[in-house]
């Protein structure tokens, strides 16, 4: 049996260096690789380029790395809810590339699927299109967008087995499977690590071939960003 298990977050991220390009799964604070982020903050690596849909909040998620000024550049679709982020951006310490959410997801998928570029209509006629090749198919314009090239993908799954197969839970799936496919080295942290044969092959979202290292996270806070409820009637 191929075994991808590492002892924990510190070992998993051991070779992430200053200047590395990382993908980080999650949407808002939902499905983010909490334990990897904690380990990255502890390790103190700098000048990271982070591809992630969002940038966390001031005191959670990628926000923790921003507090330590570990991030050189964010590639995201939406970066609100983060005062320190705003401060660094306005002061010029932090570089930000904003790209449409679907383009972000599809550029990850393209990497995982071995497609060097994809076509999307998102951004045609806007500043996102500046400098990009535009191509018309069937009367509609599309931008050519390139597959991402990331040194590491850090993803968070619900369950995983020791061979790297992953299952995500509910909308914490989001960017995680497409980023898992896209990293040169993919590190998966899971809430529950199980033996091979435990997961139904039909239920696996990310086949283990895409995952290089896996560990059970020591702690999951799973913070809620917008707690909305309805009254019981």
């Amino acid at each position: 049996m191929i075994n991808k298990v590492v002892t924990g977050a510190d070992e998993a991220i051991r070779d992430i260096k200053d200047g590395s390009t990382l993908m980080l799964g999650g949407f808002g604070l939902c499905g983010i690789p909490e334990n990897c982020i904690t380990a990255l903050v502890k390790k103190g690596v700098k000048r990271l380029t982070c591809i992630s849909n969002n940038a966390g909040v001031d005191d959670f998620g990628i926000g923790l790395m921003l507090q330590q000024r570990q991030v050189k550049k964010m590639i995201s679709s939406y970066v609100g809810e983060n005062a320190e982020f705003e401060r660094q951006l306005l002061s010029g310490e932090l570089e930000v590339e904003l790209i449409p959410q679907g383009t972000l997801a599809t550029r990850c998928m393209a990497a995982g699927y071995g497609m060097p570029a994809i076509f999307t209509p998102a951004g045609v006629g806007t500043e996102v299109a500046e400098g990009k090749e535009i191509r018309n198919f069937n009367g509609k314009d599309y931008l050519m967008e390139y597959a991402f090239d990331a040194d590491f993908a850090l993803v968070k799954a619900w369950k995983g087995d020791t061979t790297g197969n992953l299952i995500f839970r509910s909308t914490s799936r989001n960017f995680n499977p497409v980023m898992a496919m896209a990293g040169k080295i993919t590190i998966a942290e899971v809430e529950e690590l199980v033996e091979p044969g435990t997961l139904d092959p039909d239920h696996i979202h990310t086949p283990g071939v895409y995952v290089h290292r896996i560990f059970q996270g020591a702690n999951y806070e799973k913070r809620i960003e917008q707690r909305t409820v309805r009254p019981r009637n």
């Binding site: 679907g102 383009t103 999307t120 045609v124 006629g125 996102v128 509910s170 960017f175 309805r230």
Partner: protein, 219 residues
């Protein structure tokens, strides 16, 4: 003149039975509260859910189950979960029947600006550029005039664009307007108590309103 709920209520009348609908943040989210009985719709949340249900009961919030506005929500019988690539795949391939979103400005040729104000902190376009570039049927929920009393329905957007030539219908606190394929806002309905003249006065873009327009019926 309509309040936010009034705008949402009017837009809800555009939803047909069997529609898959994507609701943006803000007024569009309110539309879900006014979907008529007997109209079956499935709400898509672009973070990876079809079949968005109401907010959970207190104490039943699930950190793993949120919508694109990062709010805790619920699923419904028939819901499905998928990754972000598939989510925007179904948006690009026009499987979503109706998209409702907010705007800062709309132009008479259907351009929309809703993501960036030069000089202000830019938070990002999220999924808006994908949605407006792909959807076959987009309704914009917006204010007709800004706080300074200036029209937001323009000959040409002044703000950086989110998408070009993509909006077909606009619902404001004052009116329902179609955007004509050849350009221009066509007045379809007036909000209760709002005159055609007033709408003319606060619509900077080309307006076709000479035939008048009925007052909208909301209930």
């Amino acid at each position: 003149m309509l309040d936010k709920n009034g705008i949402a209520k009017r837009i809800a009348k555009e939803i047909k039975d069997g529609y898959y609908v994507n609701l943006g943040i803000g007024i569009p989210t309110l539309v879900a509260n006014f979907i008529p009985d007997g109209i079956n719709v499935v709400l898509q949340s672009e973070n990876g859910l079809l079949g968005m249900g109401p907010f959970p009961f207190e104490g039943e919030e699930d950190a793993d189950l949120i919508n694109a506005g990062k709010q805790t929500i619920t699923t419904l019988p028939g819901s499905s979960i998928f990754d972000s690539a598939m989510s925007f795949g179904m948006i690009r391939s026009q499987k979503i029947d109706l998209t409702i979103l907010g705007a800062m400005e709309v132009s008479e040729n259907g351009d929309i600006a809703n993501w960036k104000i030069p000089g202000k902190m830019v938070k990002g376009m999220g999924g808006a550029m994908d949605l407006v570039a792909s959807a076959k049927n987009i309704i914009v929920a917006m204010q007709h005039v800004n706080k300074a009393g200036e029209s937001k329905l323009l000959p040409k957007c002044s703000l950086p664009l989110t998408g070009v030539n993509c909006i077909r219908k606009v619902v404001t606190e004052l009116a329902v307007l179609d955007i004509l394929p050849e350009g221009g806002f066509k007045l379809i309905e007036r909000a209760p108590g709002v005159s055609v003249d007033y709408i003319k006065q606060v619509t900077a873009g080309k307006l076709f309103a000479d035939d008048g327009a009925p007052e909208m019926i909301l209930d």
